[in-house]
């Protein structure tokens, strides 16, 4: 670990020199490539340091991103971090593809109903608690103070829908890192994925109701059409992608990691343009491949492990660099209150409603549900864009919550997997 610390410090010294040198230049060029290189290298060595400290590598990636990013030391400018959006989409697609290969039909039959019930219970309780708390904070939260009661109720519901969401990305990355396998891991992964689907539907409904409360018409067919397109369209596009992958794997048999990276890149960018969910597209593709051809699923798993390290290190370090620490300062108390209430609600609902046949679910499952990342960011940005009058303030509050959840979530997820006894190795080569 000492070597990794020295290397990380040297990297930071070099970044400090570069940012000092930039001050001497009247105009600066594009910082995107610098951001990519710096975050990749810092992320890799910070991951090693984190592992040495007994933390997930992912926490190392995130923390070093925060440290060198625009809101702390400022070695990497904001424009550089924003330019890495494409990498974020790519990483989400790759992670979802791996997760999809875990969704075998047998597993869905075995735990599907129980997972769906628990998911509904956890999401429902968490939603109610956050909804109540947000509405109770109406006199304190600046964006709610001037609203009528129905409007405040609608906005509280919208905010709470986003706050409920989990992070399949973080969960799957930690599972990959620790090579965890077993009933508990399967249950956790299935729950965060189903939870995200539930949140997508609920968010669309809440957004429609909020629009109506502010004077717009409640366009039910349009609302259902939009949700349907996002869910079913994503699955159909994912199935087409899966067929393409299978044809490639059977016909070409070469450079699979490169091909998968290219395809996930296209899925991420194309999916966003077509208003589909890149996560769902890749998830459906992975699930179909694993169920049609088990060996192909394993090959994909192996290939993404090869190509995954740089993508994951860069993705999470960039996510860390994008965390707005200043927003944590401005809306800190309200955000921390909601973070605590969300945590308690998840803990309570898992203790109360988790299946009794596996005591580990009652004890440790809640820890795996705390993380929030990409999906929550996306929904927060959507709120800001759709409701320009109050959306940006809601986004700041949600981003502050994500910041807190990103920092503690991965540690808790790893602890849950360790406590369940399903971690196989702590150093799978080439993983996140």
């Amino acid at each position: 670990m000492k070597g990794a610390v020295i290397r990380l410090l040297l990297l930071m010294v070099l970044l400090a020199i570069i940012s000092r040198a930039q001050v001497l230049r009247a105009d600066s060029g594009t910082p995107v490539t610098l951001a990519a290189g710096a975050l990749l290298l810092c992320g890799l060595f910070a991951g090693k340091v984190a592992k040495g400290l007994g933390l997930p590598r992912l926490t190392g990636y995130l923390l070093v991103g925060v440290a060198v990013g625009p809101y702390a030391l400022g070695f990497i400018p904001n424009a550089g971090v924003k330019g890495l959006e494409l990498v974020k989409g790519l990483a989400v697609s790759l992670i979802a593809l791996v997760a999809g290969t875990e969704l075998r039909l047998g597993l869905i039959r075995r735990v599907g109903a129980r997972v769906a019930l628990l998911c509904a219970a956890v999401c429902g309780v968490t939603f109610l608690v956050c909804f109540g708390a947000t509405f109770a904070l109406k006199p304190v939260l600046p964006f709610l103070t001037d609203m009528t009661v129905p409007q405040a109720l609608a906005v509280s519901a919208l905010l709470s829908t986003v706050v409920v969401s989990f992070s399949p990305t973080v969960t799957i990355a930690i599972v990959q890192e620790t090579s965890a396998r077993g009933a508990f891991t399967e249950f956790l992964m299935a729950l965060v994925i189903i939870g995200d689907l539930l949140v997508m539907v609920a968010f669309a409904l809440a957004a429609g109701v909020t629009k109506a409360s502010f004077g717009g018409a409640l366009d039910v067919p349009g609302l259902l059409g939009g949700v349907g397109w996002e869910l079913f369209g994503s699955v159909v596009v994912g199935l087409v992608l899966a067929m393409g992958m299978l044809v490639y794997m059977r016909g070409v048999k070469q450079e699979l990691p490169l091909f998968l990276v290219g395809l996930c890149f296209a899925a991420a960018e194309g999916g966003t343009r077509l208003h589909l969910s890149p996560l769902l597209v890749s998830l459906a593709a992975g699930a179909l491949i694993a169920n049609l051809d088990e060996r192909a699923g394993e090959r994909i798993h192996h290939a993404i492990q090869q190509a995954g390290l740089p993508v994951f290190a860069l993705f999470f370090a960039a996510a860390g660099a994008g965390l707005k620490l200043d927003s944590l300062m401005t809306v800190g108390p309200a955000a921390l209150l909601l973070v605590s209430l969300r945590g308690v609600a998840i803990w309570f609902s898992c203790r109360r409603f988790a299946p009794a046949d596996d005591p580990r679910l009652k004890r440790y499952l809640w820890m795996g549900l705390i993380s929030q990342a990409g999906v929550t960011f996306g929904l927060a940005a959507l709120v800001s864009k759709t409701f320009p009058s109050f959306g940006p303030q809601v986004e700041v509050l949600i981003v502050a919550m994500i910041t807190a959840h990103e920092l503690v979530g991965p540690v808790l997820t790893r602890r849950a997997l360790a406590a369940s006894g399903e971690i196989r190795t702590d150093d799978a080569p080439g993983t996140a």
């Binding site: 570069i18 594009t30 290189g37 290298l41 890149f265 090869q306």
Partner: protein, 406 residues
Amino acid sequence: MQALLVFLSIAALSLLASSRALDPGRFPALARLAASGFLFVLLGILLGPSVSGLLTDRNVEALRPVTALGLGTAGVLLGLNLEPRLVRLLPRPVYLSGMAHSGTAFFFVALPLLVPLIFTSARGLIGAVGAAAMLGAAASLSSGHSAVLAYRAGRLDRARGLGVALLTMLDDALGLGVLTLALILGAASNVGEGLGLVCLALLLGVMCGALLAFLTHSLKDLAELTTVTLGGVALVGGAAAYLRVSPLLAGVACGATLAVVGGRVAERVARALGRVERPVFLVLVFLVGCAVHARDYWAWVLMPAFVGLRFLGKMVGGRLAGRLAQGSLVLPPRLGYALIAQGGLALCLVAEYSMLVPGVLARRVLDVVVMGAVVNELLAGQAFRYVVDPPRSAMAPAAPDAKVAA
């Protein structure tokens, strides 16, 4: 969106290039352009702002980070090839021979083209001298890939094939030297500042190279080594682009430092980088193609002169190089014909120049060299036949492999 378009275009062209549609027997010129990557230049020109406009100027500008990454990678690879042991081993006539063929082509192109450039330059004599020097530098560069492919296919004696390849590697030094000079003259408001920027690029490269050697020193895992190598290359290219200095020169300094201090690490880094060399090169030449302004009529006027003068320069320079290298290097009798292919470094040089030097002239240099390079690549296929199958009178006895230089 632009990135997706570039990716899809390149993927489609890669599939086309590897399919039977580009059979060398049926379409030799297209197959040659596909093999050398220059087909991607043409695709870039076609999709770029000046022809179909599918990629707008804004799109091309947004893809600057990718160009910087490509230039940094090219620079690091070039620097890694500067193996100190090999450089020390080469006898002086070999250096003289390399300088002779590249220097002749440089002067054959730079001096005559200086005149029209002076008349079209808005930045005065210094701007025109810098632009003419860049045209000369691009003309001085040759690619040895035809010779290497010919000896691998058994169509050329191995000693001769490697001799040509060695000479074409040495001319890179002249090209980079002239780029340095042109950037000193044109990249800043005065020569002192220009010199400072070039020094900054080199210093940055040296620091990154030393750091990369240290970072990769004890890495055993291949995935980690590849990740650190990619990160290091992105760091040097990106830092140079951010500070608005040359990513290519910074990359060369980084690679050379790594080759000097890295020992065995340099070989492993070169191998790791070799895995991404081809895709990065194809994307880079595609983006260079996008930057061409095909509607600049002055460029169309200058391009035939550039190609013709370069051809003459290579013929004369090749003869001179053959004489100077006698006894030290085994070369084919009609060496000039083997030096017609221009290679990717010429595109890197002019891309760098047009990125860092403002004005129409720098853009025109890019247009002339890129279009000229495509023509030269097509000419090279025909010209190389005179090397592998020369008239009997020109045949010299073949040398054994033992005499291969280095």
